[in-house]
Symmetry: C2
Subunit: 144 residues, 2 copies
């Protein structure tokens, strides 16, 4: 049977830096289009679980070994990625130490999630609003 | 840019029948391989959101108009589908009325989720264990 054509699948991790006061998060400045800052992540490989992809991409882009805490949601609006329909699974993760930009990241930044002053790529502004709500309430969105 | 090759994406809905005592759930008997009973669902179309796919597939297979309640989890073990690596987003849904088998469903059944006596396809036994835990606690799995 030929495999069906479905949206491209990505996995991202919102990384909380647990060694720093108030657990700020890591964002990367994208090296490739579309421009802007983004939650670290990338495409899932065939043969790799989605959580494994999120951990691998975080390591590749920020040099951090992250521990996934929970699934925040599945973001799948067909217009969310200008390159074509991409579905992203977003995890909340934690890490010790400090990030270093690598791979697709031109630079990394450390941010208070309630006060992000850089332009964000994709629908990551919406995702970080959902994350802030989760951080305040402990409840992940029912449906995204 | 050529699009990356990623796992195939599916969306399934565990349908709670709210008009019946103790809200039993709907499973379908598969018409196509692999054999067994399964949570209603199917592949996500390019250009369609994942929740929309879950609702569409539930309608196509069970003739029920479902309302999604929450995302139970993302199931992505590369070996979970013998046809090839398929990632399934599993939603909990509710519907009124009674299901009727259609499309890929050879038949439909109504089950107490704590007492399922039919053979299940894929990793749906694990998924229904996670669902039962959610049903008992109100908490979805952190990571699946």
């Amino acid at each position: 049977m030929s495999r069906p054509q479905t949206p491209v699948l990505a996995a991202d991790a919102i990384i909380e830096l647990v060694d720093l006061p108030d657990k700020p998060i890591v964002l990367i400045e994208r090296k490739n289009p579309p421009p802007g800052w983004a939650i670290p992540g990338g495409f899932v490989d065939i043969g790799e679980s989605v959580p494994d992809a999120a951990v691998r991409e975080a390591l590749e882009e920020t040099c951090m070994e992250v521990s996934l805490q929970c699934l925040l949601g599945c973001y799948s609006d067909p217009s969310r990625d200008p390159r074509g329909h991409t579905v992203s699974m977003i995890y909340v993760a934690q890490a010790h130490g400090k990030p270093v930009a690598a791979d697709d990241a031109a630079s990394v930044g450390i941010f208070d999630p309630a006060d992000i002053s850089v332009p964000l790529a994709f629908d990551h502004e919406q995702i970080l609003r959902d994350y802030l709500e989760y951080r305040n309430t402990g409840i992940v969105p029912a449906i995204t």
